[in-house]
Symmetry: C2
Subunit: 431 residues, 2 copies
């Protein structure tokens, strides 16, 4: 890492990102919109270490995820990992406290890390918003959690740009059993690849699970289209030997769909090809996709009722979702929505070269007291150079010895060029 | 990690912290106060990876710090580390962009990690606020950076609770040379330990640098008391063979002290025992301490004019400081200032058991649209249990079939117990 000039050149690591101010202002504004929407739903923020025992993910996350961790042995001999996802830590916090009144509604916004090949919308480090609701297993709660997800996207200006695709792993498991496919875990792994691999490979993989071609074709038919509630029932009536047995499940999904519609006007579909990669999901699973279908999932989640009991023995029903910062950034940029919403008024205080007084600081401190931005130019450079630096600010203030003598403030509106001289007191009143 | 009941029990790692909502609300409120103060000074936020090449810290941070890193070899064979501090990454971002107009004023609030023995106010993982100012080397800018540090503490309510202790490593180096001690780097390391080791060990260590006892005593005298500007000059006139040579340095410190006083009324002292552990500092160094003197440094920083040239060849003067979240938390708790400042109005929507309607969601969504908090109780439990859960909220709303029939809202102020029934429209207007 020593270059031709014999200078040490140290770059950032592949798959990681730097964020400069122009970028960070927008990110902060968007992150705030997301967390405020969660707060407005009564979700409360938690935080946990970036480093956990690797064993926490061996429990139930799935072997693909564990193989993609940034794991290592620390100086104390512990096998640890940078967290690849937030759910196991969240459940660890939940089960460590027996005094928490249920339901528990939590969100977090940690960095997570995965050692994967970087590509569009996927980095080795990203921020991931998570929301989880513990203690109730009902359609209304499933709908509330998905309603939060849709309201976050709606509040970011994405109404009509995304759709929610929902599946029920319970229902899919029932159908697979009905079609004499009993190795459900492996079937899910193959179904998860349905849209990424060729039809031939898909059939080949299902044949290895001892499925006959008639049933494989039924599965392909099932996975091939998005359904509304009516067509879901019709399709299943035709497909299954005993539709009666799943009446309750269909009713629950119907209620979930109905209740989601109270939160959003966005398109909600049933999609049997949505199974999610993580192996801890037990019921409903869902993803948000851009309707143009060009990007990876914007967010995804589902019900996971068994994870808490693995950690503590207590059965605590749970549903949650996660949204990384990378795909949403791509989508907002594509829609020209990647911009800062709120901005404090800002003042750039130009100080003429011969000024040697506390006056510019006094003015800046008064501005800051009103929770506005004041940046003093201490370079001593010529005024035009200072005014050039003031271009990004709402106002520039010029302080020379005249202003100090007269206890006045020369102020220029940088948007319309309007310029005036105010007494110090009038300026303070104007803030 | 399997306990007596044959349950897998996975704890958090030693030296790491979990944060539950009651804690996070306060932390967020305090973190926001800190970042808003920086924004009000015209500092802009940046962000960088949590993982960097270990080489970045071998450059200049000092060997003690490098030995305390969470470093490892990743799956691609890279020698990487969880970042132990923010300054090298910040300078990496600075030197990677040649187009940035100077001065550059940046802040960041990353997690940093050190493999040290945990103790009061010190964890293996903590959040650290950083502010850095690049491009100008002057007393006014030194004072602005320290002014920001004092204003952050003042805005947190700590005026009068802390003091700032300042040293100048340039000046100290000159004095050491004047006393015939030329191994300045090792002398700094010993001086850094002055308040932590016995007088005997201190003398013994300095003897190994070939210092005679007369000069060692002069150094001890110098390190033993905090000084104002007058006593600093007097002391140095008496101590040094040629005081004239440091006239300029004394003037610069004088100007710095004068300018700091324009930002804060807090006590500012000169203290030769402040040298800071990191080896990249080149000029002024400073720390904030609680005046009761019971805690570790609240924050610390200094001028480091050579780090950018090491990374890029460009000379870019720099000054910065860092403040961890642990000591400030201890101090705020001790002062009963560990509390949330701002709070949105919050509504708890109780839903009576026989209600099966979108009405509670409609009301909650209206509340959320006005950027207030609305939590719906979907448990279906009895009203008293729901009202108990509403205790932390400003208002509870009760929705039964009567309210739905009359299109009305029963609302209870949870502070004073005041209860009334409003029409739906009047309720919406009241928001």
């Amino acid at each position: 890492m020593v270059d031709a000039d014999n200078k040490i050149k140290i770059e950032k690591i592949k798959g990681f990102r730097d964020h400069y101010p122009e970028d960070m202002e927008i990110r902060n504004s968007i992150f705030t919109e997301i967390t405020e929407t969660a707060e407005d739903f009564g979700f409360k923020r938690i935080d946990f270490p970036s480093l956990e025992y690797l064993d926490l993910y061996k429990l139930k996350s799935g072997s693909e995820l564990v193989s993609q961790t940034f794991s290592f042995v620390d100086k104390g001999g512990r096998e640890v990992t940078l967290i690849p996802e937030a759910t196991p830590s969240t459940v660890r916090l939940l089960t460590a406290r027996k005094d928490l009144p249920k339901p528990v509604k939590w969100y977090s916004f940690p960095k997570v890390w995965r050692y994967e090949e970087p590509q569009e919308g996927r980095f080795r480090e990203h921020y991931q918003f998570n929301a989880d609701l513990f203690g109730i297993d009902s359609a209304k709660v499933d709908a509330e959690l998905i309603g939060l997800a849709t309201n976050i996207l709606d509040n970011l200006g994405l109404s009509g740009i995304y759709e929610i695709n929902i599946n029920d792993r319970n229902l899919l498991e029932y159908i697979l059993n009905d079609l004499n496919i009993n190795d459900v875990n492996n079937a899910f792994l193959i179904i998860d690849k349905f849209r990424k691999i060729s039809r031939e490979s898909f059939i080949e993989m299902f044949r290895k699970l001892d499925a006959n071609d008639e049933n494989i074709n039924k599965i392909i038919d099932l996975l091939s289209e998005k359904l509304d509630m009516d067509s879901l029932s019709k399709k299943l009536k035709k497909l299954l030997n005993n539709y009666k047995n799943i009446d309750d499940r269909i009713k629950r999904i119907q209620e979930t769909f109905e209740y989601i519609s109270y939160y959003t006007k966005s398109s909600i579909n049933f999609d049997f090809s949505v199974v999610r990669g993580l192996s801890y999901y037990t019921g409903i699973v869902f993803e948000a996709f851009d309707v143009a279908g060009k990007l990876r999932a914007i967010l995804g989640g589902g019900r996971y009722n068994n994870l808490a009991s693995l950690l503590s023995g207590d059965d605590i029903p749970a549903i949650g979702f996660a949204m990384g910062d990378a795909v949403i950034e791509l989508l907002l940029k594509r829609q020209n929505l990647w911009e800062r919403n709120i901005r404090k008024a800002s003042y750039y205080v130009c100080v003429l070269n011969d000024v040697n007084s506390e006056y510019p600081i006094t003015i800046a401190q008064k501005i800051r007291k009103t929770n506005k931005i004041a940046s003093i130019d201490f370079t001593g450079r010529k005024l035009p150079a200072q005014l050039k630096a003031a271009m990004d600010y709402d106002y520039s203030i010029i302080i020379g010895n005249d202003e100090i003598k007269n206890n006045s403030v020369s102020i220029k509106n940088m948007k319309d060029g309007d310029q005036k001289i105010l007494s110090f007191d009038d300026f303070i009143k104007s803030l």
